[in-house]
């Protein structure tokens, strides 16, 4: 499954959330992560995020069950990642 996760959290927790998400997904923009992930892994990730979050924070998760249904257009600078070769 392909997910896009965006977050809006208090300044103190931005770094923590970002670091946590970096373990699971690819960073695309400020406060936006995306990537392929298994259901179980996503649940694990969200549980861990829950521990960081405070009441006024929010995280949005957009799921695309079939990655073939995803069309992604980019305007301006595209930070495309090579996931396999470094």
């Amino acid at each position: 499954m392909f997910v896009i996760i965006t977050y809006d959290v208090g300044e103190k927790r931005v770094g923590k959330v970002c670091k946590k998400l970096r373990e699971y997904l690819d960073w695309t923009q400020n406060s936006v992560f995306e990537g392929e992930i298994q259901k179980g892994k996503l649940t694990k990730c969200l549980n861990e995020l829950q521990k960081i979050l405070s009441d006024e924070d929010s995280i949005y998760i957009y799921k695309v069950e079939n990655p073939n249904h995803l069309q992604k257009d980019v305007i301006g600078q595209d930070r495309s990642f090579d996931h396999t070769f470094f």
Partner: protein, 327 residues
Amino acid sequence: MNRDIFILSNGRMKRKDNTLYFEDEKGEKRPIPVEQTNSIHFLGQVDFNTSLLHLLSQHQICFHVYNYYGYYDGTFCPRNPKVSGFTVVQQSAHVLDPEKRMYLAKSFVLAGIHHMLRNIRRNGSNDTAYSDTILSMLDRVESARTIPELMGAEGHCRQVYYDAFGQLLKNGMEWHSRSKQPPKDPVNALISFGNSLMYTTIISEIYKTVLDPTVSFLHEPSSRRFSLSLDIAEIFKPLIIDSLVFTLLNNRRIQEKHFESKDGAVLLNSEGRKRFLAAFDEKMKTTIKHRKLNRQVSYRYLIRLEAYKLIKHFIGDEVYKPFKAWW
């Protein structure tokens, strides 16, 4: 879904913020999501420290090291939590009993030959001479009573198979015979590099099961090497690596310019390696519908299933039938 990471450039691999970062020679850092990583292949010169190893062991990530020429050097596998003395004892019992050992050794060989024939059939012309010759030699494999006898029969089949390469390769790639250490021409270089990758992939998969990678059947279980992965590679080398070599060469995705010659050895250059690795990675991720499991499984997972079947065989659950591609 987890991916393999190939590090081709020189630099430093490190742990930061509980995830992986690769820092190249220019100091540019790139994060790698640790949860999405299956194993890491180091083909360049890479520095790391023990804190990286701690992270890798927490996530059960193996890393494989290759030398300057792309030959397999070794593997770091985290402490394996999957051990089962019972299975290992049963596995060893199958080596000690000549009859049981022959059954498994033959299974590996026959599955390998099945895939060789498949390659000839799929890539060859209408000429059936080669496959007929191999088919006529199958009796010798079936009736072999000792391991050396079996190895000999298998060697003869393989010889004919390699003779057929001349016909299977289009675009005038040079081919005489199989040569290794060092490979003498581009095709051999591809096969050698591919086989190294195959061994490491199988080691990674065996490590996820309770099998002991050093106790093997076709190859003599000696010390100092993971010979079980050589056994299983018999099945998958022709299926995965050889067919990949044909595809890449016949479609001109890899050409003469992707090789370099050094002291009589022909090796892939960095662009060639990258192309081969990309194709290999792609291949391992392709899925087929498994007839028994009734779901899509990737080539990589097929290897693990092979290990699971062996375990079942050892503990007397189900007789081992080697994997033979049916499509």
